[in-house]
């Protein structure tokens, strides 16, 4: 049995551990060659912002983990367009090398295409 899985990433990085632990779960899944896609929605889009420098707050960069995604075969990242707009973030601020960012107008339609959704 195999299930197409969507990781729904809604947590901002650093303030809570959820963003990091979500990406770790996605990487584990991708390493086992399970089909897994990511949808960044709400504050989750802040995970993708460039120029993160969390050393002074004693944390490791989460973007380093995100950059590992393409190496594990996750090459397409879905991003909720209205979440971006609400936060005044431009698409060029959230690029991940080796991955294609696809803006999603109707996240509900994307979600409906999966058998399993893991919320983070």
């Amino acid at each position: 049995m195999s299930n197409r899985t969507l990781a729904l990433c809604r947590a901002a990085p650093y303030g809570s551990a959820l963003a990091r632990e979500g990406i770790e779960a996605v990487l584990a899944s991708a390493a086992m060659e399970q089909d897994i896609d990511l949808l960044f929605l709400g504050d989750g889009i802040f995970q993708l912002l460039d120029n993160q420098a969390p050393e002074a707050i004693g944390q490791k960069s989460l973007r380093r983990n995100l950059k590992a995604l393409p190496m594990f075969g996750v090459e397409e990242l879905y991003v909720c367009q209205s979440s971006l707009e609400e936060r005044g973030i431009l698409p060029e601020q959230i690029q991940i090398p080796g991955a294609e960012v696809t803006l999603v107008e109707k996240p509900g339609e994307l979600i409906a295409a999966y058998q399993c959704v893991l919320s983070f």
């Binding site: 729904l8 809604r10 947590a11 709400g42 109707k106 509900g108 979600i111 999966y114 058998q115 959704v117």
Partner: protein, 96 residues
């Protein structure tokens, strides 16, 4: 069809807002834990096309008057919760 489970208060958290942005016609919405405070929130009034469910254990715990909730809300027990989960796929939790 997707089952959306919202467990946080719409008055203090964006969970319901984000969920409603991700609703598709035919999806169902289940309110649990602090999510049941949505019964007091106007966002539910606008959801004409969505089947809305609310866990009775959680609304009673909080002393919420379900009689003032919109007609479209069905108050359900845990058995029905399980059944909703068998009837829908995927199941999406909105807990923050």
């Amino acid at each position: 069809m997707t089952l959306h489970i919202v467990s946080k208060s719409p008055f203090s958290c964006q969970a319901l807002h984000d969920c409603l942005q991700s609703l598709v016609e035919g999806d169902a919405l289940l309110l649990i834990e602090d999510g049941v405070y949505a019964l007091q929130h106007q966002a539910l009034q606008s959801l004409q096309e969505t089947r809305i469910y609310c866990l009775t254990a959680d609304s009673e715990a909080r002393g919420l008057q379900t009689s003032s909730a919109p007609d479209s809300v069905e108050i359900i027990d845990d058995t029905r919760w399980v059944q909703l989960c068998t009837e829908h796929n995927p199941i999406v939790s909105w807990f923050r």
